[in-house]
Symmetry: C2
Subunit: 274 residues, 2 copies
Amino acid sequence: MFRIIGEKINGTRKRVAAAIAERDAPFITSLAERQVEAGAHWIDLNAGTSPDREAADLAWLVETVQATVERPLCLDSANPRALEAALALTRQTPMINSITGEPARLEGVLRLVRDSGADVIVLGMGARGMPATAEDRMVVLRELVAATRGEGIADGRLYLDPLIMTVATNTEAAGIALETIRQVRTEFPDAHISCGLSNVSFGLPARGLINRTFLALAVTAGLDTAILDPLDREMQATLIATDLLLGRDRHCLRYTRAYRAGQLEPGAPPKPTV
Amino acid sequence: MFRIIGEKINGTRKRVAAAIAERDAPFITSLAERQVEAGAHWIDLNAGTSPDREAADLAWLVETVQATVERPLCLDSANPRALEAALALTRQTPMINSITGEPARLEGVLRLVRDSGADVIVLGMGARGMPATAEDRMVVLRELVAATRGEGIADGRLYLDPLIMTVATNTEAAGIALETIRQVRTEFPDAHISCGLSNVSFGLPARGLINRTFLALAVTAGLDTAILDPLDREMQATLIATDLLLGRDRHCLRYTRAYRAGQLEPGAPPKPTV
């Protein structure tokens, strides 16, 4: 079953930043509730603020969302102090987003993952920056999995991220990501595979078309989790169709139910259930 | 470069059958022209009529379409007499749709393929009916390729068809087709791979969604040709996005041109070229 990390509560978005600054709880709560209704399994929380304010802002987001929504949270920060403050407040097993091979970030956050029992997104990005090829990413991911295993963190808690880059500047970018997904699936069968999907279309028009087409290819390659906008109905329809085509929808039940609920043809009203 | 066989001139469709019966040339011509404008490489011609009328009807279709359209034709018939009459009239290298492993059909049509120099669609269906698995289809396709090679027909003239069945009655159907495509791509690198795409969604609602999602997966697996409706704009948009993601669109030129021409967002007007 494919699972979605709802991406909308992100302080790098202007409107969300304003809501965080003004402690506008109804706005944040509504964003969380709408994502849950649309099927998000986790709610990503990114305070997007400067280091001196991030711990307080992220903690406020955790408390605000948890007040009305019963879903695990994905704590989106590289700042150990902010993560520590947020982790102390979470009521369900959270996810930490993310660790990389950068030594400072790895050391500070890995200990928190170990001690909190959180799941964790592991970016295939090393101390030397963004690896160019699938094999270079695997080298970094192998080092990172060795580190998590060394801390006693089970592979099933890992969400390995192949690093999606835009095809706008490198037309090989999607192919490299797909190849990395296939290799991770083979080499780390117990780990999950997650990505920030919409990066693939950065800088191009009609991004939804590229994103959902890439999603179908990535799910086929082995992706089982993604950070995306769960309110994107065409994306959700593509997920349902992809699961159907991959033999993951017994008797086509989920597909036909989604059709009757009007979820497969955006803009169309629900079909009468004759 | 992916190539489309335009499927619309098919006498099993009621309106087309009437046009054939009434020798309504303007209707047929318009169907051919619209498919060519939409990017069809071949125009499929299926008279859909009884054996005693098929030769005359198919010959009329060939002459009618060739009168205004400069594209190769795909002669869609299992009837050697109808094919022979049509082949005598074609002005560009035609395609014959199709041969199978059924001995009667194979013997009658294979000779025509050899003598005419036509391309040919080869269905992975044997004398014992529809093979259940990818490996069973490969057994049939190997026998058929041995037969075409035996007649001196180069693999580059073959369009091997993995046989797309609907997921409505077997949720493994798409997976079997994709696996067959991957095996054909590996084992017969010089042959083309074609299919009747829309079969995959037969009996289900919102078929376009399933068809275009399957198309992205099939092209990634190695499909390079399909019989489909070139007027389906969302299908065409998916093809353009898939080529982009597979690194087949240098500098994203085709994608950005299609966007500016308004082809990527069905219903939307063309964008101003600032």
